[in-house]
Amino acid sequence: MSVQLLVDFGSTYTKLTAVDIEAERLIGTSKAMTTVKTDVLEGFDRALEQLRVSYPDLPEITGVSACSSAAGGLKMAAIGLVEELTVEAAKRACLGAGALVNHVFSHHLSRKEIKQLRQADIDIIMLAGGTDGGNKECILHNARKLKEANLGVPIIVAGNKDAADEIEEIFEDSPVEYFLVDNVMPKLKQLQVKDAKNIIRQIFITKIIEAKGIKRAEEKTGEIIMPTPEAVLIAAELLAKGYEDEPGFGELMIIDVGGATTDVHTIGAGYPKRSEVIFKGLQEPFAKRTVEGDLGMRYSANALLSLVSPYEFKQYYHREEAQDFETSVRRRHENVDYLPEDDAEKEFDKAMARICCDYSMSRHVGHVEVVYTPLGNMYYQTGKDLTDTQYVIGTGGVLINHDDAKDILREVNQKSNKKLELRPTNPIFLIDRKYILSAMGLLGQKYPKLALKLMKQHLE
């Protein structure tokens, strides 16, 4: 009998999932607080002990694989030339690799921006700019600036290939650690992020894990192979596409409402569905991830105050009694472990989750814009058309623990006041009750078919 243990070192919890490979079943899950400040293995051992207590007949574990978003996850800065083009391409490469991208710069880096980069807490910098054969003056300028600054952060160079040799000359005799990869936008509006994503994962495995003090865990877990959000994206892609004779779900979306961010993953081309719609802008990734840092249930709860007015909030809060919007939001921000006690507070959490779903959807999906032409109305589409999304899967604390999570998820649907947003029209809603998506992304590296089967079985 062989048992695969899948480990997710999260920012709050270290989560374990045990899978019986031969019997093709999920044995169980457990979790314990992540202990990255002292010794990350303490939390792991505690979770494992708990797993053994809950499942006393747990056989010996034969294989382990792990992902991590502990110690702040993977933080990146994206630098490019034009905001809508290479900057966006660089940003998408980072997001697709499971990173958080809080710092984004376009055109020539200034002293002020270098200072911002120096002060920021960043693990890797992605430097892009210019199509192949296009502008190289800007990326060379930025490479020189970054060399001068010597930030002690690895730099991935994913810009105009014509500038590659000169960039190598710039960095060659400096302490700057750099990696030259394929251009993220080799041709205008063409997105090519595979090479950049691979190198991000490699740097994550070899350096970031160590810098964050999680390396010790590898004594027991083997190599930590990817950031957690990437594992979720891989699980989503597997679930959408299917594997061999096991069919997938088709176009789908995973929405993860967390304490600090709301992540949206969609799988599907999202091309325009009608002939009078013309696609504009940068090519969209087939597996797309966006992260909203101002939409969260606890750490970033305060940001809601500037996003919605108390009046707007009432549209999401489906109860009569008055609840002081600001006080309730601040209570959650100040006490991130807060759990709602009464019905009103529970409903308040639901309302916040509804806002997270609704707003993150507006930002993730494509939009259409009407153009009046002599040949009649035409439409521009920017972003993905997700109207045909078959399944919307909810994950993250608030959705997993709520009985009527599906009611919250309904916020992602097409809305009459947001007609120009290409939102799902009539999807089937599922909840990741056992919190297994990232684990299945990990399991899918070796046992894709089994991971697919288990997801189909356990998403309810």
């Binding site: 030339l81 034009v82 809508e84 083009l85 290479t86 700019g129 210019g130 199509t131 054969g133 296009g134 502008n135 190289k136 003056e137 936008m185 205008l188 013309i278 504009k280 153009v371 009046y372 032409t373 002599p374 040949l375 035409m378 521009y380």
Partner: protein, 134 residues
């Protein structure tokens, strides 16, 4: 190899001429970045920045080109494209107007070359070769 950006500006969906221009310019050894129909000034400019283009060739067939091209030179300068060549051609004004006057108006707007209806793209190629020095 010189890079040129071509496209059809504004709410104009005339795609056939656009394809012919792409074909002919490519034949003549240019790296053609075709941003297609329904393109805004911003689309032209962004494409020119990223691809380091030497010229932008704007097409317009539906009569509203004059409106669509307003301040294009200024916008290029604002975006750092000071030395870019700007060409425009097609049915670029409303109705039938004296072309000399039209040409003058567009030149005043900062366009380097202005073409009347019915001209063949080969004529523009000769101008391109002269302007870009090839």
């Amino acid at each position: 190899m010189k890079t040129v950006v071509i496209g059809v500006i504004g709410a104009d969906v005339h795609a056939v001429g656009n394809k012919i221009i792409e074909h002919v310019l490519t034949e003549h050894g240019y790296n053609v970045i075709n941003i297609g129909v329904l393109s805004s000034q911003e689309d032209f400019i962004n494409a020119a920045i990223e691809t380091d283009a030497s010229a932008i060739l704007v097409s317009s067939l539906y009569g509203h080109g004059e409106m669509d091209c307003q301040y294009m030179r200024e916008n290029c300068e604002e975006a750092g494209l000071a030395n870019i060549k700007l060409y425009v051609g097609g049915n670029i004004v409303v109705g039938k107007q004296d072309f000399k006057a039209v040409e003058q108006r567009f030149k005043k707007m900062g366009f380097d070359r202005v073409y009347p209806p019915g001209i063949s793209i080969e004529d523009a190629v000769a101008d391109l070769q002269e302007d870009l020095g090839e």
